[in-house]
Symmetry: none
Subunit: 247 residues, 2 copies
DNA sequence: AATATAACAGAACAATCGTTCTATGTCAAG
DNA sequence: CTTGACATAGAACGATTGTTCTGTTATATT
């Protein structure tokens, strides 16, 4: 048998309803209907909730807009004795969720090396550990194709101006993905065995012959009759150029 | 060859409804009903509002809880002030935004238009609303110069291959910053009065004469004797090229 | 014990509200 | 000119929802 104590000012159900109001608004962004309060507060009758809402309003805890559905405004928080008000904590909670969401949208790609014309592309081994990376590049997940899970992506810094025909030059960062299946039209990093040279070109396989098309449309393609000399190192997913200069 | 899908810009009514949603929630603490949106947005039919709410939801601006009255959540904007203390919550929100930015290092930059050779660069006005943006581009703050506060940054999508001499081509996204002080060596977007042409060039002021140097080192610079024909629209901070294709 | 009062339950009702259907107008492509 | 998207309007329907009414139970006071 639980006696109602008026000492605290708020009864259990009054406090409970206030909690429901706050939590609901935090979760859904709009106030609950009376019947939804019934559910969340384990009260079986709408009239009881209405009864308490009237009380809370006359006490100044909430404000109600007459006969408008969900017309409930929270005015002051329920927890008085606690140091931090519940409104503040709920705001913090919302922010925390935002932070969590946006952290998820950020992808940390390891920069595993440089890409130079005279050397093959340093492709990370399968057991690659992120600790081996020289540094990291943060990429917004929203800029990547949706299907990229991203775990296997890696980045390379371009050194020298030998990739100018690919519209890529010194200092650019290319985000790459290991070449599993390469399709016609993919921009790929290629090691040409016969020339000992790395290039970035659009790849086309046309009746047994490989056509390597520069990104710059004003430049002519390279044709390779023997596909075995074309060693595909990875597909380019993105190119980032930081124009910032050191004043 | 390279198709690009991008969320379309907001129509007047879409923007209007978003404004109503935000203002209503700020004022009352709960979302408006469809008929209340009708009134505030000067739309005579509930079905039209419903029509646009569906659009806004599929664009990701809001979230709707099926057939629940006032079941509208604003997603993109941060302006949801509860009926508590506006001063307190706004302070908290400012702080929270700082925390968020410094924790996750992600910056949401609005794409305010396209950059074409034949037209001046669309620079966002000071009263620019993010609703006006066609879409957003997320940029990792770690890739930007440390001193960029970032609030004034904007992005443009390059249309056409007329910027090839700047190593930038069709579909690239340039992150820009309004031209306040331009220093020698900055990569700037320039409107040439005498030619009616926009270009991206490195800017040098040398004894009263302007030298515009293409990014591509193999190309020759342009010299402009009269600096008044050079209209600087902004400084390029970053260039992003998404190579993703719709294979 | 009697009684007043507060707490609670359930149902019924009317207003509100979201949804859907039909109809009209507009405008660009064919 | 026809066609077909798209935008808009209005009305109607059914579900949701706030309100109210009647009634029951519990607690406290006299």
């Amino acid at each position: 048998m639980m006696a109602r104590r008026r000492a605290k000012g708020l009864t259990d159900r009054q406090r409970k309803i206030l909690e429901v109001l706050e939590r609901f608004h935090t979760q859904f962004g709009y106030p609950p209907s009376i019947r939804e309060i019934c559910d969340k507060a384990a009260i079986s009758s709408t009239s009881v909730v209405n009864y308490y809402l009237d009380q809370l309003e006359s006490m100044g805890y909430i404000e109600r807009d007459g006969r408008v559905s969900r017309g409930i405004r929270l005015l002051k928080p329920a927890g008085e004795t606690e140091g931090v008000s519940t409104a503040v904590t709920s705001t913090i909670r919302q922010t925390a969720q935002l932070v969590r969401q946006e952290v998820d949208e950020l992808l940390r790609v390891p920069v595993v090396g440089r890409i130079v014309a005279s050397e093959p592309v340093p492709v990370p081994p399968s057991d690659f550990s992120y600790y081996d990376a020289e540094s990291m590049v943060d990429v917004a997940r929203s800029l990547l194709p949706a299907r990229e899970k991203g775990e296997q992506l890696f980045a390379l810094e371009v050194q020298g101006n030998s990739m100018i025909d690919a519209m890529i030059f010194d200092g650019d960062i290319v985000i790459m993905k290991p070449a599993q299946e390469v399709r016609n039209g993919d921009l790929v990093a290629i090691w040409l065995n016969d020339r000992d040279e790395t290039t970035l070109k659009y790849f086309f396989l046309e009746n047994g012959r490989v056509r390597l098309q520069p990104a710059n449309p004003t430049m002519a393609p390279i044709y390779v009759d023997d596909p075995s000399v074309v060693d595909i190192q990875g597909k380019v997913v993105m190119v980032i150029r930081q124009v910032q200069r050191q004043g």
